[in-house]
């Protein structure tokens, strides 16, 4: 009994540790003061000002555009790469796998400066396109790493059986392989999406005029103090993520039930 309570207490402690900063941020998004030290009463004015602030909305827009397109493109690239690597044997496979690990282990700042130098050398204008390329570059290895274990679990003979029965390779890829590794693909895509939203260092060095994502925008407020509209924006994003998670959970529960009924 004591043991159970202790476990519960520990779990609660961990959750408080994880969520306290977010809760404080949400509370302060309703604070009628520009400063964080004092509580001056309830207000919705930061939400109102957020939707009036073109600069913040533009930063949000670019963040989402980059996150969406870089995660989609890197997921497609990563999926094919993972299937290819899975099919390799021997030394080749080892070399490629380790080459894939390198960018993951590399500090962000090194990747950032390297990409900056490369773009300059290739005379690519710094802007949305270079930013997108950079985000795809650092996302692909993560996608590959999240798909490979699923490929290992897959029954290798299924795709071959399908082809024996007359399926074209592409058909068996679509109908046999992809559905089986789909959870890995989704994990990879989500990972790429969050990595892209998170990133500051690489974005800072690879973007050009007119294009700032949220992290660059928020960082640039450091001298004058962070505008509370950022609290409001973060609150909205947090709520959006919770709703999204709930919907995904609800849907996967429904499909599980459907599968059970069919059995």
């Amino acid at each position: 009994m004591v043991n159970k309570n202790l476990k519960r207490f520990y779990a609660i402690l961990v959750f408080i540790f994880l969520y306290a900063p977010i809760i404080v941020l949400i509370i302060y998004s309703f604070n009628d003061s520009k400063l964080r030290g004092s509580w001056n009463g309830f207000t919705l004015k930061w939400y109102y000002e957020l939707f009036k602030n073109k600069e913040a909305l533009r930063a949000l827009y670019y963040t989402l555009i980059i996150a969406l397109s870089s995660s989609i493109i890197s997921t497609v690239l990563g999926t094919f790469a993972a299937i290819g690597i899975h099919g390799m044997r021997g030394l080749n496979k080892k070399v490629i796998l380790n080459l894939n690990y390198l960018p993951v282990l590399n500090p962000d700042i090194v990747t950032a400066v390297a990409l900056m130098a490369l773009f300059r050398l290739a005379h690519i204008n710094f802007g949305l396109f270079s930013l997108l390329l950079a985000h795809i570059t650092f996302s692909v290895p993560y996608v590959i790493l999240s798909i490979l274990p699923k490929l290992k679990q897959m029954n290798v003979y299924l795709a071959e059986a399908a082809m024996d029965l007359g399926a074209t390779p592409f058909y068996s890829l679509r109908k046999i392989i992809i559905p089986q590794i789909l959870p890995g693909i989704i994990t990879g895509a989500l990972l790429a999406f969050t990595l892209s939203i998170d990133d500051f260092v690489i974005s800072f060095f690879t973007t050009g005029h007119g294009i700032s994502n949220l992290s660059i925008y928020i960082y640039s407020m450091a001298r004058k103090g962070i505008n509370p509209i950022i609290n409001a924006l973060s609150t909205l994003m947090f709520i959006f993520m919770i709703v999204l998670l709930l919907i995904i959970n609800y849907r996967s529960e429904k499909t599980e039930k459907l599968i059970e009924e069919r059995r």
Partner: protein, 346 residues
């Protein structure tokens, strides 16, 4: 599955077409400024009046700006560096000369703020905002008047003092206390300042940056070294706070508008600088930011209490001993070494 795949492909195509297909019909300029350092309404007014689109970005430190300008690959038309950074940019040939004939509004700028050390003949820059560094203290917690930097070394205030977590600014405090120039090139003077700061360390509550505002409003400490703009924001929240410019003199700093050498649209950039120097526009910005405008006619448009504020617009005699930061150039390494020795001292 097929449907989804098609959806995915169209989505990707759509997004990439949005990415690449931004119409470039209107002329535009790229402006790069400090975060939260403009009233964004003025950008819309500028677009309406001139038909020139402003592509606006922000940065956090002079060094960030410097990296972006050195990096190349993307050019800005108007940027807002501070005094010592302008000096460095001029010496590295990163700026282009401004044709003052295109900026008639410069005649509205207070003469005190033209032809300063960082740009002696005013060939490259038009001042945007200025301010001082001083001491803010809580009159409900401190009984006597503070007037000098030396007060920050008074044992009486142990555990109540907040210093700036900023190399140049904090060294300047100690140098000024010792009655040296804050632009000193003498290593002995710098080391003396270092020893002063290390001596002061036991009575310092913390070295802080922007968080100083919250700590002072919250009453956690009662004395802090701050920039005048922050002081004005704090006093607005808590009228017990008082800002003084110490008698030994202090740092007078400027952020000015300049045109980088690789600007693509210099003519429009000059139009923009002229627009920003117009009294009504400068007043809008000064009111939003809370720092001091160098344009007397703009100050007249501000609310009474701001105009008469000793924080934002101190009298001339208070500014007598002030100095503007110069680029330390070759001895910058010494500054870094001494600052590290201060921060790592126990």
């Amino acid at each position: 599955m097929k449907k989804r795949l098609i959806l995915l492909v169209t989505l990707t195509l759509l997004i990439t077409s949005v990415l690449s297909g931004c119409g470039e019909s209107k002329p535009s300029i790229n402006v790069y400024n400090w975060g939260e350092y403009i009233n964004t309404d003025v950008l819309e007014i500028f677009e309406e009046e001139t038909g020139i689109r402003v592509i606006y970005d922000t940065y956090a430190t002079n060094e960030d700006l410097y990296v972006k300008m050195k990096q190349g690959g993307s050019s800005y038309d108007v940027v807002f560096p501070s005094d010592y950074m302008i000096e460095r940019m001029i010496s590295e040939d990163l700026l282009s000369e401004i044709d003052l004939n295109n900026i008639p509004m410069i005649k509205g700028v207070d003469e005190r703020f033209l032809n300063l050390d960082y740009d002696l003949k005013n060939l490259y820059s038009v001042p945007y905002m200025w301010g001082t560094v001083g001491i803010i203290y809580n009159t409900s917690m401190i009984d006597r008047e503070l007037t000098s930097w030396a007060d920050l070394w008074d044992e009486e205030f142990a555990g109540e003092i907040i210093m700036l977590n900023s190399q140049r600014d904090t060294l300047a405090v100690a140098l000024k206390k010792l009655h040296y120039s804050m632009n000193t090139r003498s290593i002995e003077e710098l080391e003396e300042a270092r020893d002063e700061l290390i001596k002061q360390k036991p009575i310092v509550y913390a070295y802080l940056g922007d968080e100083v505002k919250d700590v002072m409003i919250g009453g956690e400490a009662s004395i802090a070294v701050v920039w005048s703009g922050d002081a004005a924001a704090m006093i607005e929240e808590d009228s017990d706070l008082k800002y003084v410019i110490p008698e030994e003199g202090t740092n007078l700093w400027f952020d000015a508008m300049v045109v980088p050498k690789n600007a693509e649209n210099k003519e429009a950039a000059e139009q923009f600088i002229n627009f920003m120097t117009r009294p009504d526009i400068a007043a809008m910005n000064a009111e939003y930011i809370g720092y001091s405008s160098p344009i007397p006619e703009a100050i007249e448009l501000l609310p009474e209490e701001v105009q008469n504020s000793e924080v934002a617009y101190p009298s001339n005699e208070k500014l007598e001993n002030t100095e503007i930061f110069m680029d330390p150039k070759d001895i910058i390494g010494e500054y870094d070494r001494i600052w590290t020795e201060i921060t790592s001292a126990q």
